[in-house]
Symmetry: C2
Subunit: 473 residues, 2 copies
Amino acid sequence: MADIPIGDFCSLNPLELFQQVTAQGEKVRSLKAEKAAKGEIDAAVQLLLSLKLSYKTATGEDYKAGSPPMDFAPISNGPGDAEVDDFVDPWTVQTSNAKGVDYDKLIVRFGSSKIDKDLINRIERITGQKPHHFLRRGIFFSHRDMNQILDTYENKKPFYLYTGRGPSSEAMHVGHLIPFIFTKWLQDVFNVPLVIQLTDDEKYLWKDLTIEKAYQYAIENIKDVIACGFDINKTFIFSDLHYLGLSPGFYKNIVKVQKHVTFNQVKGIFGFTDSDCIGKISFPAIQAAPSFSSSFPHIFNNRDDIQCLIPCAIDQDPYFRMTRDVAPRIGYPKPALLHSVFFPALQGAQTKMSASDPNSSIFLTDTPKQIKTKINKHAFSGGKDTIEEHRKYGGNCEVDVSYMYLSFFLEDDEKLEQIKQAYTSGALLTGELKKMLIETLQPLIAAHQQRRKQITDEMVKEFMTPRKLAFDF
Amino acid sequence: MADIPIGDFCSLNPLELFQQVTAQGEKVRSLKAEKAAKGEIDAAVQLLLSLKLSYKTATGEDYKAGSPPMDFAPISNGPGDAEVDDFVDPWTVQTSNAKGVDYDKLIVRFGSSKIDKDLINRIERITGQKPHHFLRRGIFFSHRDMNQILDTYENKKPFYLYTGRGPSSEAMHVGHLIPFIFTKWLQDVFNVPLVIQLTDDEKYLWKDLTIEKAYQYAIENIKDVIACGFDINKTFIFSDLHYLGLSPGFYKNIVKVQKHVTFNQVKGIFGFTDSDCIGKISFPAIQAAPSFSSSFPHIFNNRDDIQCLIPCAIDQDPYFRMTRDVAPRIGYPKPALLHSVFFPALQGAQTKMSASDPNSSIFLTDTPKQIKTKINKHAFSGGKDTIEEHRKYGGNCEVDVSYMYLSFFLEDDEKLEQIKQAYTSGALLTGELKKMLIETLQPLIAAHQQRRKQITDEMVKEFMTPRKLAFDF
C-alpha cells in the first residue's frame, strides 16, 4: 500500500477504507513482529486509529476484521425502526432487529426478485401441485430467473437441481433441513436430477480442522441429508474432497471459473484480504462449478447446456452472483436461484446460531426431553411478562421464536393462523405456544432419527458414486 | 485504486508502480469498453503514460504486462562488468549479458547451494557411475538438500524423482530436453520411481488457449518426453487436467498447500497482483503437491514420508521455495532440488527463446536441412568479423552460442576442450565450429524423431494410468 497522509481518507468509499484499515493493521503487526523502532510503530498505530475512525464515520459501524462493508449505503429497516444495519455474507449474518434481517431490503441490495403471488400461482398452475408452505409463507422469498426454469419445464426441456451444505460439524440442527426439505419437494414436483455438494474442502480451509475430520463430518451430514428422503435413483451426493478426485469434468469447470474471476472481484464480493490463504481465494470456483451440467458427465451424458436451479439460503447468493457473471463468458447457461430466509436461533432472530452452543437450536440428535427443555428454557418469547399483561395486550408473533419455528414446521395453514390470532389476542399463553412447538418437533425429529438409523454405509457409498441417474440425456 | 495525482509516484517502489500501471491499464480498458466520454478516456490514458514513464525511470525497463519487477535492488554481475540486471521468475528470464544470467549471484539471491566438486565426487563415489556431463560442466549448478538425498540413498531408504513441463505448444525445442535427459540419467543411476507433471491447467490459465488445446499440447509433449527413453515400469506421467480428476490424494495435498499459503506470500514470491485471476493465484499449490508422495497413493502405497528430488531449471525454484516452506507445516518432508542453467536462444544468451519464433532455437521437429540453415544463419557467433582477425585474436566461447550448445550436447569432454582451445586460439573458424554443432545435433534429433514415431497412443495412455510401479513400498 502506498502511504497516504492522515486526513486524506474522505475521498475513499467504505470498502476502500476497509481495505486500508486491514492493510494498515497488517503493517502494524509486521512492524511489531520485526521489533521495529518505537517511533515507527507509534506512527503506524496512529495512522491505523485514524483510519478506523474514518471507517466508523463513513459506515456508522466499528471496523471488524474479516467483515467488510457489503454495501456502501447503510441499510435502514424502515422509517418506523431505529436505524439498523444488516450484514449478510456466506460466513456472517448479522442484524440487530429481533424480527430478523429485512429481506425486502436484501432483495434490493442483492438485485434479485421477490417471489410474488404471480410466480407462486404459476408454479401451482404448471405443476398442478399445491405450493409448498415454504413458498406460501415467504420462507423462500426471493429468486433469480425462476420464470426461465418454468418456461423450460413447460417446453419439456430438462433442468436440474443443485444444493449443498458446508459440513462444519457432525451436528446438524433443524434449520439445516430447510433447503433439503424444499429441494426434495421441488424434485418430487418437477421430477428432475439433483446434485448435492458437501463443501468439506471449504470447512478444512476455513476452520481449525484436519482434512480427515472435514471429510468425516461430510459423511455424517450426508446421512442426515439422505434421511430427508431423497430418491437414490435421482440424486447424486458428493463431497468435494472425494468427487474432485473422481471427475476430470468437475475440475475442468473449476479451472474455467478460476480463469475468469480476479482477486479484485472475490475481494469485492467476499471481502477476502491479502492475508487470506490462496485456498479461500480460489474456493468460490468450487462452489460455482456444480452449477454447470458438464461437471457431472455421468449424469448429463457430457451435455453442458442444461440449466440448473439452486435452492439455498440467501447468504449463499454471493457465490452464485459470481457464477452468473462468469457463466456466459465460458459458454454455459446461468443458474437460476430460489432464496430462503435464515432460520432463527432459539434465543431470537438477532442472535447467532452456533453448532458449538447446543442451546442455540434444536439438533437432529436431540431427545424428546432435550427438545422440551430447550424450548421451554431458551426459546425467545414474544409474550408479556405476566399472565395478566399477556391476557390484556397479547403476544408478539413477529419476534416469538416458537411461533417462527412453527411457521417453518407446522404445515397446516389454518392451524397456524389460529395460533397466531390466539397468541396475538392473548388467549394463548407462551407456555401453551411452546407446548405446540414441542409437540410438532418431537415426532418430526424422532422420525428423522428413525430414518437416519436405517442409512447404511453402503447407501452412502452408492449415493456418492458417480453414475447415471434415472434420466436420459 | 484511489486516484493518485500525476507526478506523485516518486515515493512508490517499483512493485507498487508496476501495480499502479496494471490497475490504470485496466481502468483505461474498461472506460473504452463502456464507451466513456472521450475526455475521461484521454485523462486516464495520460495518467497511464505518466505511470509507465515513472516505472521506466525507477526500473530502467519498459513496463511489461504480467512481468512485475522481481527484486527492487538491481543486481550487478560483478565489478568487471557493466551494471547488469538479471530477472528470473517462472515466466520471465531476462539478462542483458551475452554470457547469460549470473548464476553465482542467483545462488546467493535464491539461497540455494552450489553444486561443488565435493558433491559431484560424492555422487560418483556413492553411485559408482561417472557423473553426467551436465554435472561435470556446471549445467546443473545449484541444489537444495542433495546431500540429504545421498544420505537417504546410502541408508538404503527410498526417494523419488519429480520433474515437469508446461505444455505451451506442440513444439518442443532441444533446450526442453535438458531436464528430461538429466532426470533419465538420475533414474538410471539411482533406480527410483519418477513422476512427470504436465501443467496444462497452468497453460490454460496463463495463455489464450482452450482447455482442450492445452490438454492436446500436453499429450503431444508427453510423446516427446517418452521418446527420451523413460522406463514405463518406473515412470508415471500425468497432465493436471487429467490426473486431478483421478486422484483424491493429489487434490487433498493441493488443498493442504492452499491452506498454508496466503495471497501476500504468492504476491511476494510470484509478483501476482489483485488483477490476476484466482486460478493463477492458487496454481502454485498444484505445482507444489507432486513434491509429496501421498499425491501418488498408487505408487507409494499411501505413504506420505518419502522424500522427493526435483531436477528443474532454476526459474522454477520459486515454486519449490514455497513448497519447502509449507512442507514441515503439513507434516511432509521438504523436496530436494537440482537446478539447471537456462538454455540459450540461437541469437544469444541475452535474447528470449520463443516457441512462436521458429528461428530462436532448434526444434525437435526440425529436418537436418532446417538444423543446418538455422545454425549457419542464426547461431550467434563469438568469432571475429574477418578470417584474418579471427586467426589473429581468436573467438570467444563465452558468448558463442554454437559452443554453448555443444557444451550441452557433445558428451566427449576431451573433444569439447580441443574445440574450445582451437576456437579461442583462432585455429578453428566459426563456420567449422557451426559444422561440428550441426553434425552433433542432426543425428541426435533424427534419433529422437525416430523414437517418437514409435510412441503409440496406447503407450501414452499406459504412462498416464495411475498404477503401481516396479517398486515396493
